[in-house]
C-alpha cells in the first residue's frame, strides 16, 4: 500500500468497535488512516456489560468508555445518532439515514446484536421493553413509576439481570421462562432448581415451562399475559429478554455471506466474504457460532485491527471459551465448558448442599483424567482453578470430587498449583492476560496484586481471576527468590498490621514499651508516627501527652498544618460544611486580627494560613471560646464529611444529607487511621457532594442510603464502589463503624482505602463478606473498638489551651519571646503570602511577624 491514508469506516460504536479503535491507536499507526465512526445510539461507546450499573447513578457518564479527547487527539470523526442504512460495495461507500455518503477503503462492521422479541400477538403494546441500551433503562424507569408489577420474559442470564433491576425499582417482579428451568444454556436441572429457590427467596416469582400465547388488556394491571397451559398473569410492564440476534442487516442488504440463522460469516482474520469488509463482535459468525460475550468480541477487534495494519503480529481468531462467572441477584453462578456433559462418554460428579444452598458439578472425560466442564451455584470460588484445568487440559488429581467437596477438617481444598500452568495459560480472559504476562510484570517490579492490576489490567473487569492472580504473584516472588520485605522500618521487623495487633493484644500503651518489647534502636520518622497513630486508634489518649508528643509528625505535634515557610495553617471543624453567620464572623475577625491568609478548602471548611508557632494557642483560645473544635486537618484521621443541602432545601433531595453528614462527622471526628479519611453525603443521585470520590460516600435514595467505599481524589483518582444499597441509617452507621475499624486494623502505613481494598485478596466481595456477613466473626469487636474511640473523643486544642505546660511547647524559642524573623510575607490580592527568595533579597514591602 502507498503512504496515502486509508479511508476506514467503522459502523457501530459499541464496546467492541471501541476496542478496535483503541487497538489501532495503541499501535501508534492510526495516523495512516482517515477514520470515520457511525453509531446509531445517541452517544459514543459505553460499557454495555455493566449496563445495569446505570441504575446506581441514573447517569450515562460512569459507563462511558471513551477517554477524554480520544477522538480529537487521534483525528477520528464520530457521528452519534447516525444509522448506516446501506453499503454499496461496488462504489465502496456507505450511506446514512440522512442521505450522507462516505467512501471507504476498509469497512468494519461492529453492529452488535438486537434483542429478540417473540412475535406473540400484543408484543408491541405500549409499556413493553427490551434491555439493551441506556434509553431502554430510562424508559423502564419512567414506566415503573406508573405501575406496581413487572414481568421479564426470559429466564436467561440477561433476563435475571433485568428482573433484578425491576425488583430494585420497587416492582413486584415475575420471570416467565419457556424452558423448564432458569438459565437453560449455562446450568443443568439440579443447578437450575437451586438457582430458582435462591431467586424466589429474594421475592421474585419464577414461572418456568410457560409459553406466552398472547398479551391483552389486563383488568387490574395494564397487561394480561395468557399462557398455553391456560394460566394468566397480570402485569404493568413487560421486558423481553428472550435472546439476542446478530445485527446483520447491512450484510444482507449488500449481499455478504450470512449464516443460516443469521450472523455475518468471517474468516480467522474477521474478514467477511468481501476482503475489504470486516465484521467483529456480536454481529460476526465464526465457525458457525456467534459469541455473545465481551471477551471474544474484544479478541476479534484486536485480530481485525492487526490485520488492517498489515498483520504484523499475525493474530488470528480461533474461537473462544464461553465460560462465565457472574453474580446474579446476589447469587454466584459459574458455568465452564461442557456444562451439560454432551461430550460422548462424559461423566459427572455432583455436590448439593441444600442447607447452605450450594450446587457444584464437575464434568470429566471417560477416564476422569481431564475436566470438560463445570457448574457452580451459590459458591463460585473454585471458578478460576477449575477453568484453568479445563482450558489447559491439565491432568486431574486422583479423586476429582475432592475439588468440589467442602474440606471438613479445614485442610486446604485440592487446588491447582499455579506452577502447573503453562506460560500461555490465560488467567484473565476479560483482558487477555496470560500467566506469562503476569510473570513478566512481577519480574519488572510489580510486587502486589494492586500493582499487577494497574500494570496488566488483570482482574479489573469481572474480578473472577483475582485469587489466581494472587497465587501467580506469590509463586513468582518465591521463584525469583524475592523476599518481599514488609518490615515497617529498620527498627521493627513487622508490618503495620502486625504492630497494630501487638499493641492491641499486648495492651501496649507507649512507644518506649513497644520499642523495648518488639523493636530496636531509637525509632525514626517512619515508625514513630505509625506507632502514634496505632496507639491513638487503640487507646485514644491525648496525643501530646509527654510520652506521645515526640512521636507525632510536625503537623500532629503542633496540631496544625506546616506550610512551606514553617508557619502553620488552622482549620477548625465545620461539620458537614454547615456554619452559622456568627461563627463565620468569628473566623473573619480572628483572621483579621492575626493577619492570616484565608481560603475555602475543598472539604467545605475555612483554612487560616500564616500563623507562627507561638500564635497557635492564642488563636485557638479565641476559637475554642467561640465554640469551635479542632478540625484534625493536621492528622491522618477523619477530615471532613462534605454534604449538599439535601431535602431541606434542594427540590430534588430525598433525604436530609446535611443532618446525616453532621452526625457522621461528629461520630468519627478524631479517629486516627493509616491515612486521611474523607467522606461525603449527597441528598439524591445527582450527587452534588461528589460522594463517589471519597473513602466513604453516601448517596440518599428513596428508601434510605446507598453506601460507597474506597474512592479517592488526589494523584490517582478512583471512583468508590457501591457497597450496600437502600440501607437504613442504623445499618449505614453499623457498616461504616466496622469498615473503618477493619481498615484501621489491617491497612498499611499511609495506604488509602482504595489501595488497601485492591490488595485484599477477594477485593470488594471479600470486604462485603467481612463487614456485612461478618464472615470473620469480628463485627462485634470492631463495633466495640469504635464505640471506645467515640466515647473517648476530646478536642485536642481545648485540652491543650487548658494546660499551661502544653502551651509552653508552642513557644518559638525556649529562651526568648521573639518570633522567627525569617518568616516574612508580602501582600497579594489583599492578603499575605510567603515572600519569595527574590522578594526577600529586594527587601521591599516585606511584612515580618517577628
Amino acid at each position: 500500500m502507498t503512504s496515502a491514508t486509508t479511508r476506514l469506516v467503522l459502523v457501530g460504536n459499541g464496546p467492541v468497535g471501541h476496542q478496535f479503535l483503541e487497538t489501532l491507536v495503541a499501535s501508534g499507526r492510526a495516523d495512516q488512516f482517515d477514520i470515520t465512526v457511525f453509531g446509531e445510539e445517541p452517544r459514543a461507546a459505553y460499557d454495555r456489560v455493566h449496563l445495569t450499573a446505570w441504575f446506581e447513578t441514573r447517569s450515562a457518564e460512569p459507563l462511558n468508555m471513551v477517554a477524554e479527547g480520544f477522538y480529537d487527539h487521534n483525528q477520528i470523526s464520530v457521528y452519534s445518532g447516525r444509522k448506516i442504512t446501506a453499503v454499496n460495495r461496488d462504489k465502496k461507500t456507505v450511506s446514512t439515514d440522512c442521505g450522507i455518503e462516505v467512501a471507504y477503503d476498509v469497512l468494519v462492521l461492529g453492529t452488535g446484536s438486537f434483542p429478540f422479541v417473540p412475535p406473540v400477538p400484543g408484543h408491541d403494546r405500549s409499556n413493553t421493553f427490551v434491555y439493551r441500551t441506556i434509553e431502554d433503562l430510562e424508559a423502564i424507569t419512567t414506566a415503573s413509576l406508573g405501575g406496581s408489577v413487572g414481568t421479564v420474559v426470559g429466564g436467561g442470564l440477561l433476563g435475571l439481570e433485568a428482573a433484578k433491576a425491576l425488583h430494585d425499582l420497587g416492582l413486584k417482579t415475575h420471570v416467565v421462562e419457556f424452558a423448564p428451568r432458569l438459565m437453560a444454556v449455562q446450568v443443568d436441572d439440579g443447578g437450575g432448581k437451586l438457582l430458582r429457590k435462591k431467586i424466589e427467596d429474594l421475592g421474585v416469582s419464577v414461572h418456568t415451562g410457560k409459553n406466552t400465547q398472547q398479551i391483552i388488556d389486563g383488568s387490574e394491571h395494564t397487561h394480561k399475559m395468557c399462557f398455553a397451559d391456560g394460566e394468566e398473569l397480570e402485569t404493568d410492564l413487560i421486558v423481553f429478554s428472550a435472546g439476542i440476534r446478530p445485527q446483520d442487516e447491512l450484510a444482507r442488504q449488500s449481499g455478504l455471506d450470512i449464516g443460516e440463522r443469521g450472523g455475518i460469516s468471517v474468516n480467522n482474520y474477521c474478514q467477511t466474504s468481501d476482503p475489504a469488509i470486516y465484521a467483529i463482535g456480536e454481529c460476526a459468525l465464526w465457525g458457525g457460532r456467534i459469541f455473545g460475550l465481551i471477551a471474544p468480541g474484544n479478541e476479534m477487534a484486536r485480530v481485525a485491527a492487526d490485520h488492517v495494519l498489515g498483520g504484523v503480529e499475525d493474530k488470528q481468531f480461533l474461537g473462544a471459551d464461553m465460560s462465565t462467572k457472574l453474580k446474579l441477584m446476589g447469587v454466584d453462578v459459574a458455568s465452564i465448558g461442557d456444562a451439560h456433559a454432551n461430550t460422548p462418554g462424559a461423566k459427572c460428579y455432583t455436590f448439593i448442599d441444600e442447607q447452605t444452598e450450594v450446587y457444584k458439578k464437575l464434568v470429566v472425560n471417560e477416564d476422569a483424567s481431564k475436566l470438560l466442564g463445570a457448574v457452580l451455584i451459590g459458591d463460585a470460588d473454585d471458578y478460576g482453578n477449575l477453568l484453568q484445568f479445563a482450558l489447559n487440559g491439565i491432568e486431574l488429581p486422583e479423586h476429582p470430587e475432592a475439588m468440589i467437596l467442602p474440606s471438613l477438617d479445614g485442610s486446604a481444598s485440592v487446588g491447582l498449583g499455579v506452577d502447573a500452568l503453562p506460560e500461555s495459560a490465560q488467567i484473565c480472559s476479560c483482558n487477555n492476560v496470560s500467566k506469562g504476562d503476569l510473570c513478566n510484570a512481577v519480574a519488572g517490579g510489580a510486587l502486589t496484586v494492586g500493582d499487577l492490576k494497574s500494570c496488566t489490567k488483570a482482574a479489573t473487569t469481572c474480578g473472577g481471576c483475582t485469587a489466581l492472580v494472587g497465587q501467580v504473584l506469590n509463586a513468582e516472588l518465591a521463584k525469583l527468590g524475592m523476599e518481599v520485605n514488609t518490615d515497617l522500618c529498620e527498627h521493627f521487623p513487622y508490618t503495620r498490621q502486625e504492630i497494630y495487633h501487638l499493641v492491641r493484644v499486648g495492651g501496649i500503651k507507649s512507644f518506649d514499651e513497644l520499642l523495648a518489647k518488639h523493636g530496636k534502636g531509637h525509632g525514626c520518622d517512619i515508625c514513630k508516627p505509625t506507632a502514634a497513630s496505632i496507639l491513638a486508634s487503640c487507646w485514644n489518649d491525648y496525643i501530646l501527652q509527654p510520652e506521645h508528643a515526640g512521636l507525632q509528625d510536625t503537623n500532629d505535634r503542633m496540631l496544625a498544618n506546616m506550610q512551606k515557610n514553617g508557619t502553620y495553617s488552622i482549620v477548625p471543624r465545620v461539620a458537614g460544611g454547615e456554619i452559622t453567620p456568627d461563627k463565620l464572623i468569628v473566623l473573619g475577625e480572628v483572621g483579621k486580627k492575626y493577619k492570616l491568609y484565608t481560603k475555602i478548602t475543598g472539604g467545605q471548611r475555612i483554612d487560616l494560613f500564616g500563623a507562627t508557632v507561638d500564635q497557635l494557642p492564642l488563636i485557638w483560645k479565641e476559637l475554642v471560646d467561640a465554640g469551635f473544635e479542632s478540625g484534625h486537618a493536621y492528622g491522618k484521621s477523619l477530615r471532613t464529611v462534605k454534604s449538599c443541602v439535601g431535602s431541606t432545601w434542594c427540590r430534588y433531595g430525598v433525604q436530609d444529607s446535611v443532618g446525616a453528614a453532621i452526625d457522621i462527622e461528629n461520630r468519627y471526628k478524631g479517629l486516627r487511621s493509616p491515612h486521611k479519611l474523607k467522606m461525603a453525603v449527597s441528598g439524591c443521585t445527582r450527587e452534588c457532594a461528589e460522594a463517589q470520590s471519597k473513602d466513604v460516600g453516601i448517596i440518599a435514595t428513596e428508601k434510605g442510603w446507598n453506601l460507597y467505599v474506597c474512592g479517592n481524589g488526589g494523584m490517582k483518582p478512583r471512583h468508590a464502589d457501591l457497597f450496600a444499597s437502600d440501607i437504613d441509617t442504623e445499618t449505614l452507621i453499623k457498616y461504616i463503624d466496622r469498615f473503618l475499624m477493619f481498615y484501621v486494623r489491617t491497612a498499611d502505613r499511609l495506604q488509602r482505602t482504595s489501595v488497601w481494598m485492591d490488595n485484599l485478596e477477594g477485593g470488594l466481595e471479600y470486604l462485603q463478606n467481612v463487614i456485612i456477613n461478618d464472615s470473620l466473626g469480628i463485627a462485634a469487636e470492631l463495633e466495640a473498638e469504635m464505640t471506645h474511640v467515640i466515647g473517648t473523643y476530646q478536642c485536642e486544642w481545648k485540652t491543650t489551651i487548658e494546660n499551661e505546660d502544653k502551651v509552653k511547647m508552642f513557644r518559638s524559642f525556649v529562651n526568648s519571646n521573639k518570633g522567627d524573623d525569617n518568616v516574612v510575607f508580602v501582600q497579594e490580592r489583599g492578603q499575605i503570602r510567603p515572600a519569595t527568595d527574590a522578594e526577600r533579597e529586594l527587601g521591599e514591602d516585606l511584612i515580618a511577624v517577628a
Partner: protein, 111 residues
C-alpha cells in the same frame, strides 16, 4: 569557646527538640535518651527554620532528626545530611551542668 545557659533539661520534651535564639542565631536542641544535642534550626532544603520540630530517631548507628518539610535526615552529633552530604548543617557543643543545658559557641575571634 564560650558557654551560654539556654534552658533547663525539663524544657525539652523527651525524644524531641526545641528552638533557641543565641545572638540572633537559631539553634535546635534535642533531648534524646537523656543526652542533649544541638544543630542549626535552619533546614537548607526548604529554607525554613524548622528542624527543632522534626522527629528524632536512629538510622543505623547515627542519631538523626528528620526535617519536617521534605524529610531529609541530619545526624545530631555532626550535622551531616544522610541523603545529601553537600547540604550538611552545623552541629554545636552542648553539655549539661546539673539540670541546665549549656551551649558552646565558638568565640567571636574564631568565628
Amino acid at each position: 569557646m564560650s558557654w551560654t545557659a539556654v534552658c533547663s533539661l525539663a524544657d525539652i520534651p523527651p525524644n524531641a527538640g526545641v528552638a533557641a535564639l543565641l545572638n540572633g542565631k537559631q539553634v535546635a536542641i534535642f533531648n534524646v535518651a537523656g543526652e542533649v544535642f544541638a544543630v542549626d534550626n535552619h533546614d537548607p532544603f526548604s529554607g525554613a527554620n524548622v528542624l527543632s520540630r522534626g522527629i528524632v530517631g536512629s538510622i543505623d548507628n547515627d542519631l538523626v532528626v528528620a526535617s519536617p518539610i521534605y524529610k531529609q535526615h541530619f545526624a545530631l552529633a555532626t550535622g551531616r545530611c544522610i541523603e545529601d552530604e553537600s547540604q550538611s548543617i552545623n552541629a554545636y557543643s552542648v553539655r549539661l551542668e546539673g539540670d541546665t543545658v549549656m551551649l558552646g559557641l565558638a568565640d567571636q575571634a574564631a568565628a
